[in-house]
Amino acid sequence: MTAKPKMSAKNVGVSYNGKVALSEVSIDFLEHDVISLIGPSGCGKSTFLRCLNRMNDTIDGCVVSGEIQLDNYNIYSSEIDPVEVRARVGMVFQKPNPFPKSIYDNICYGPRIHGMANSRDELDEIVEWSLTSAGLWEEVKDRLNEPGTGLSGGQQQRLCIARSIAIHPEVILMDEPCSALDPIATAKIEELLGQLRSKFTIIIVTHSMQQAARISNRTAFFHLGELIEEGKTDDIFTVPKDERTQSYITGRIG
């Protein structure tokens, strides 16, 4: 493990209105890696994920302590603009949430607000690249002006992935991106993740241990607001160090 971490969390704790949801989480994420966060419901894994791009800022009463480094910058330092952090750390949500706009405008949303394109041609290029990267181009190239909400669930989720990679983030956070999808759409997204890892660092929360085993290099297990253990996916699933991890992956807790 010689590569320097893309993101690293040090002693991160989160509380909602004084109620502790997460405490003392320290973990490193390597560049161009796929990391799964697993654990039973309510264990704090989604809360932790939302710390990584400061999405918790939008929730009233949420207090984050500790330090999260992105390329050696503490994203919780007072000089950092959360808007900038989110442009570098993208996010895909559990439920597909395309904007009620055309497919084309959904993709262009980020590039437009960040002034990434100066002409229609450049925008066209970004749209094609993003949709191709998300494996959606062939399916929608003839109906770019139709509303994104008219696509199937799996297509909508890939549209959301295309939308977030359109602004070339360095890290993509995914919060159970397949939990609202059928197995075929899930397989397509998993395949897509395999291709995206060459360009992005991907941190994914999942409820499916099979999915974690299939797609990720490293896995972190959360339980009751704590990070129990983190390591190579193969090790976590075959020789877990902690008893609680063992219980979870064999189905005794959670």
Partner: protein
């Protein structure tokens, strides 16, 4: 026996019937679980069997009694051959009036007095007869119900069927009333359009509905071109909207997106209080406070401002409309799913970018609906314009002049002693019809838009 004691006795017998049914059901079985329905349903069952036939008799009696009394009295009029120059109907009316007015009775003639006494006799006889018939029919109902009562009887189903019927009738009453209002509006308007052509009414530029008494006076025919009135309504509505849309919409955005929950919980009810201020209060605020201020300000700038200007009425009406737009739009902006905002924030969008590019476009149809509802409310608003907008039907786009609106004209046409078949009063119904059709269309369009928008996220 007066009405109050009658109602009291009726209610006592009614509760007696209930208790009887309740007791009877319990006494007919050893264990109350043997009953099909709860004992209280048996009680209601008996009470309904008492009340329904009795009430039907009461309604029937209400229609029948005057007819019977009239025919008996007419008979006695004919036998006494007292008619003089009046018709029997007028005489009958006279007698009824005398019967309720003891002061006038003193100066009545002997023949009339006799008729009045006869009338009062018949009346009191009618009351006793009514009570006897009513209660015996009711008792017959209780008797029938008692025959039907048995432990296995499905009393609950019967009672619930009756209550469903009552609920249905109540909802139909509201609809029938509306239909009745529309029909009366329609028929009176048709009478108006028989006298004045629809084309003249809808496209004529001159409005002066005051018809003269004699045909050789000036303005004998009256003019019914309603365009100046429509224009005045539009002008005031436009001014009101120019005030209400920006303030209402921006405050809705502030409340929904920026305000802290604490502040929002305080400011939203406060804004909604504005909607509860009686319009007549807005009216004298417009006429006594705003209008003089505007006139004074205009004069200091060298402009001539009418003391009842469209601007004053429009401004105050706009303030009145603000809570409609802000409250509805606030609800609609809140209904935009949080996931859309999250999606936008996760792209590195700022709050204002998110609101401008995601939240508002998503909420736009609903906001348009709320604005249309506010417009229809402004068009139908009466009190403010009656007090502050003036009466002169002037065709002008100058907000500093006095204009008049549809609602103001309806009020002035119908206030006071009027004959109800002159074009002047009938014109009020035609104006009302136009008002009704316009606001109906606006409401329908607004509701369709709002509903369509709701479907998108559910």
């Amino acid at each position: 026996m007066n009405t109050f004691s009658f109602i009291c006795i009726f209610l006592i017998v009614l509760s007696g019937a209930y208790i009887f049914g309740h007791r009877y059901a319990l006494s007919s079985v050893k264990n109350s679980t043997e009953l099909h329905s709860l004992p209280s349903y048996h009680g209601f069952y008996v009470a309904i069997w008492f009340a329904f036939p009795a009430l039907i008799v009461l309604v029937f009696w209400y229609f029948i009694e005057p007819i019977i009394i009239k025919s008996i009295l007419l008979e006695s009029i004919r036998t006494t051959a007292f008619l003089g120059s009046t018709t029997p109907d007028l005489l009958l009316n006279d007698i009824k009036n005398l019967a309720t007015n003891s002061f006038a009775l003193k100066s009545a003639s002997a023949v009339k007095l006799e008729l009045v006494n006869r009338y009062l006799e018949l009346k009191s006889l009618g009351i006793y007869l009514k009570i006897v018939i009513l209660f015996s029919i009711g008792m017959l109902g209780i008797f029938i119900a008692r025959k039907k009562l048995s432990p296995k009887m499905r009393a609950r189903q019967s009672v619930e069927r009756v209550f469903t019927l009552v609920l249905g009738v109540c909802s139909i009453i509201a609809i029938l009333t509306t239909i009745g209002i529309v029909l009366s509006l329609l028929f009176e308007s048709i009478r108006f359009f028989n006298k004045v052509s629809p084309a003249e009414f809808l496209f004529g530029l001159h409005w002066s509905p005051q018809t003269a008494l004699r045909s050789d006076q000036i303005g004998a025919s009256g003019a019914f071109g309603a365009v100046p009135i429509f224009a005045g309504t539009l002008l005031i509505t436009l001014i009101a909207m120019i005030v209400a849309i920006p303030i209402g919409l921006l405050s809705a955005i502030y409340m929904a997106e920026y305000a802290s929950p604490k502040f929002r919980n305080w400011i939203k009810p406060t804004l909604e209080i504005l909607a509860g201020v009686p319009t007549v209060v807005y009216g004298f605020f417009a006429a006594l406070t705003v209008a003089p201020v505007i006139r004074g300000f205009g004069e200091s700038m060298g402009l001539s401002v009418a003391s009842e200007s469209a601007l004053a009425a429009g401004l105050v009406m706009g303030v009145m409309i603000i809570p409609f737009i802000s409250s509805l739009s606030d609800d609609i902006i809140n209904a935009v799913p949080q996931s859309l905002r999250d999606g936008s924030y996760a792209m590195g969008a700022t709050k204002s970018e998110t609101i401008k590019k995601v939240v508002l476009p998503a909420a736009l149809p609903g906001i348009a609906g709320s604005i249309l509802l506010a417009v229809s409310r402004a068009i139908g608003e009466t009190m403010i314009v009656v007090m502050a907008a003036g009466l002169a039907a002037k065709l002008t786009a100058n907000p500093l002049e006095a204009v008049t609106t549809v609602t103001v004209q309806i009020v002035t046409l119908l206030v006071g002693d009027q004959e109800f078949d002159s074009p002047k009063t009938l014109a009020a119904f035609a104006l009302g019809l136009v008002l009704f059709v316009v606001t109906l269309i606006l409401n329908i369009v607004a509701l369709i838009i709002v509903r369509k928008y709701r479907e998108k996220y559910d």
